[in-house]
C-alpha cells in the first residue's frame, strides 16, 4: 500500500529537484503558468473562486474552512481597497510544514498569493512570517519576491496587462497568538497581537479597516496547481469532504521524522510506515494528530483512523495543522501535558479572563501534580477548568489550551492519579 501513496506532488513538488527554491526550478515544473494563463485569458475572478470552491480545498492552517467560500465573502462589487494576507506565522507546536514550503518552494506560495489577490480584487498582499524565521526562511522568501518582481510577475503592469498586485514581506517578533487571523491584522497594524471580536469578520472589515482575506501558506501554495489541472483533478484526490493533498509534519518518537505531503484519507498506518514506524521498535501509545491544540488520541484508535478531517473528528480529535506527534509506550503523559500547559500559559495574550486565568490555573495544578504535591481536590479542580474556558473567549486559544488537558485526563487519568497517590 505505502508504495502506492503519491507523496510530495503539490506544495513540495520542487523538493526533489536541485536548487528547489529557485525561480528557474519552479518554472521548469510549470510554475507561474496558472498565473500567466489567468492574465492571458483575463479570467473572471468569480470563475476562479468557483473553481476553488469546486476543488474542495480547505484551509490548511487548522480550521479547515472552504478556501473558495472564504474568498467569496469579499464583496466583488465594492470599490473599497481589499487586502490579502498570507499567514506564515507557523507556530502551532509540532508543525513545521510551512517552513519547508517557504524555504524550498516559495514561488508556489507567491503564485498562489497572486491568484488569490486577483480573485478577491486585492492590489496589495502581505506575507507575514513569524519573527523566528528572520534568518534563512525570510531570505528565501525575499529572494523569491525579488526574482518574481524582476520577471514582471508581481508589481505594476504585470506582464503588460495593466494588472497591479504588490506583495510585501513582513516579519513578526515572537507571539504564538499572532497566528490567529485577527491578531495578525493587529500585529501588521503595529500593535500587540490581541485577537479582535468577530463580527465584523475580516472579509468585511479587516486590515486597516478594509475587507481582507487571510490564508495559510500551504493553502495558497496549493492554488496554482488546482488552476492548472482543474478542480476535478484536486477533488478526486482524497475523500468526499476532504479533498486533495495535505502536508503532515510527523515528529516525536518516530524513525524518519519529516514532512510528508500525502492524499487526505490516507490511513494513519500508512503514514506511520512512510515515516519509518515508531522509534526503537516500541509500541505506539498515543498520537496528537493535528498540533498541540487538539485532543490526544490513543494509539490503538489512531491505527484504525484515516488522515482526513472527518475520520480524525470521528476519532475524537481534529486534523488541525497536520502536525502528527507520535508517542511511544514509555511516554509519561503527565509530563507531556505539563509541557503543553506551560506553553498555553506563556502564550495566552491575557485579553480574556477565562483564558488568562484558566491557562495559569491548569499549568500550576499540573505542575503541582508532577511535583507530587497535589491532592485529589486539586485534581478535581483541574478537571473542572477546561469547560469553563471553552467557548468563553474571543479567540480559539482558550479552547486550544483546554482540549488537550481534557483529553489527557480522559484517557490517562490513572497516570495523573499515580502522582497524587505517591504523596500519601
Amino acid at each position: 500500500m505505502k508504495n502506492n501513496i503519491k507523496i510530495n506532488e503539490l506544495c513540495y513538488a520542487t523538493l526533489s529537484k536541485e536548487n528547489p527554491n529557485s525561480y528557474e526550478t519552479y518554472v521548469s515544473i510549470g510554475g507561474y503558468s496558472a498565473w500567466k494563463k489567468i492574465i492571458a485569458n483575463s479570467t473572471k475572478p468569480k470563475d476562479i473562486i468557483d473553481n476553488i470552491i469546486d476543488s474542495g480545498l480547505r484551509g490548511r492552517g487548522g480550521a479547515g474552512f472552504s478556501t473558495g467560500r472564504k474568498w467569496s465573502f469579499i464583496d466583488q462589487n465594492s470599490d473599497e481597497i481589499k487586502y490579502l494576507v498570507c499567514n506564515a506565522d507557523e507556530s502551532e507546536p509540532g508543525t513545521c510544514k510551512d517552513r519547508d514550503i517557504l524555504r524550498f518552494n516559495p514561488h508556489a506560495l507567491l503564485e498562489g498569493m497572486l491568484i488569490a489577490s486577483y480573485a478577491i480584487g486585492a492590489k496589495v498582499a502581505y506575507c507575514y512570517l513569524r519573527g523566528e524565521f528572520i534568518d534563512d526562511v525570510y531570505s528565501s522568501v525575499k529572494k523569491a519576491l525579488k526574482d518574481a518582481y524582476q520577471n514582471k510577475l508581481i508589481g505594476k503592469n504585470i506582464l503588460d496587462s495593466n494588472i497591479c498586485i504588490d506583495i510585501y514581506d513582513l516579519i513578526g517578533a515572537g507571539a504564538y497568538i499572532v497566528g490567529e487571523e485577527t491578531a495578525m491584522l493587529e500585529s501588521i497594524e503595529g500593535k500587540k497581537g490581541f485577537p479582535r471580536y468577530k463580527p465584523p469578520f475580516p472579509a468585511e472589515k479587516g486590515l486597516f479597516g478594509c475587507p481582507t482575506i487571510i490564508n495559510n501558506v500551504e493553502t495558497l501554495a496549493s492554488v496554482p496547481e488546482i488552476i492548472n489541472k482543474g478542480s476535478d483533478w484536486f477533488n478526486k484526490i482524497g475523500t468526499d469532504k476532504s479533498a486533495g493533498f495535505k502536508c503532515f509534519s510527523v515528529s516525536g518518537h518516530i524513525n524518519k521524522p519529516g514532512n510528508y505531503e500525502i492524499p487526505l484519507g490516507t490511513p494513519f498506518r500508512d503514514l506511520l510506515d512512510l515515516a519509518g514506524g515508531v522509534k526503537n521498535n516500541k509500541k505506539l501509545k498515543a498520537v496528537i494528530p493535528g498540533g498541540s491544540s487538539v485532543p490526544v488520541v490513543p494509539g490503538d484508535i489512531m491505527l484504525e483512523t484515516n488522515m482526513d478531517y472527518e475520520s480524525i473528528s470521528n476519532a475524537g480529535s481534529m486534523l488541525g495543522s497536520g502536525a502528527v506527534i507520535i508517542m511511544d509506550e514509555d511516554t509519561n503523559m503527565v509530563e507531556v501535558i505539563h509541557r503543553i500547559a506551560r506553553f498555553y500559559y506563556s502564550e495566552s495574550c491575557g485579553q480574556c479572563t477565562p483564558c488568562r486565568e484558566g491557562t495559569g490555573w491548569m499549568y500550576k495544578i499540573i505542575d503541582k501534580i508532577i511535583k507530587g504535591q497535589a491532592t485529589l481536590e486539586d485534581f478535581e479542580t483541574l478537571k473542572s477548568i477546561p469547560h469553563m474556558i471553552s467557548g468563553s473567549t474571543i479567540c480559539a486559544l482558550g479552547d486550544a489550551a483546554a482540549m488537550p488537558v481534557e483529553s489527557f485526563i480522559k484517557y490517562y487519568e490513572k497516570e495523573f492519579l499515580s502522582y497524587i497517590s505517591k504523596k500519601t
Binding site: D135, G190, F208, S249, P257, I340
Partner: protein, 165 residues
C-alpha cells in the same frame, strides 16, 4: 538643551526604515514599529528606553505605542543580553526527543542558567515551538537553525562560535 542618552538611527537603518514604511498605506505610522525594533536590536542586542524614544520620534507616534509592542513580543529583549542569543526549543516534539537533557548540557557548558546571560551568550527562556519539529531536538543561535542536536554537535557549534573573530 542636550538630551541625555539619546539615540539616533544610523543612515543605513533610516533608509531601511523609510523603505519599509512604503509597504503600508500612506499615513500609517505604527506598522513599522516591529521592524524598527528589529533593526535596533540587531545593532544593540537589546532595547533600551532611549531606543523606544527614538522609534517614537522617528515614526511620530506615542512612546507608549512603541513600548507596548516592545514588551508584548517575546523576541524583543528589554534587559541586557550577551552577544549571542541561544534559544533551545523544549516544546513537545523536542521534549520527546530529549531536549531537557540538551538544555541542561548547554547550561553546564555555558555556565549559565536558563534565562540568564553572560557577556557572550544569552540563554533565552524560550517557550514557543520554533517550527523545526522534524529536526528535534533543535535550537536557534541568533535565529539560525541547528537541528538534530547531540552533545558532540553542540560542542562543535559552540567551538565554532568561540573561534569566530
Amino acid at each position: 538643551m542636550i538630551e541625555k542618552n539619546s539615540y539616533n538611527f544610523s543612515n543605513e537603518n533610516e533608509n531601511k526604515l523609510n523603505d519599509w514604511i512604503l509597504k503600508f498605506p500612506r499615513g500609517q505610522k505604527k506598522p513599522a514599529i516591529i521592524y524598527a525594533l528589529h533593526l535596533i536590536q540587531k545593532e544593540n542586542k537589546y532595547i533600551k528606553s532611549e531606543h523606544i524614544d527614538a522609534v517614537a520620534k522617528f515614526l511620530d507616534i506615542k512612546k507608549i505605542d512603541v513600548y507596548e509592542v516592545a514588551s508584548f513580543y517575546s523576541m524583543f529583549e528589554l534587559k541586557k543580553t550577551g552577544k549571542h542569543t541561544v534559544s533551545v526549543c523544549t516544546n513537545i516534539s523536542c521534549m520527546l526527543n530529549g531536549s531537557d537533557n540538551i538544555l541542561s548540557y548547554i547550561e553546564r557548558k555555558l555556565g549559565i542558567k536558563l534565562g540568564d546571560t553572560n557577556e557572550k551568550f544569552f540563554l533565552k527562556d524560550e517557550r514557543e515551538c520554533l517550527a523545526a519539529c522534524c529536526g528535534a531536538p533543535m535550537m536557534q543561535i541568533d535565529h539560525k537553525y541547528y537541528e538534530n542536536l547531540t552533545t558532540e554537535k553542540i560542542d562543535k557549534i559552540f567551538d565554532d562560535i568561540e573561534n569566530e573573530k
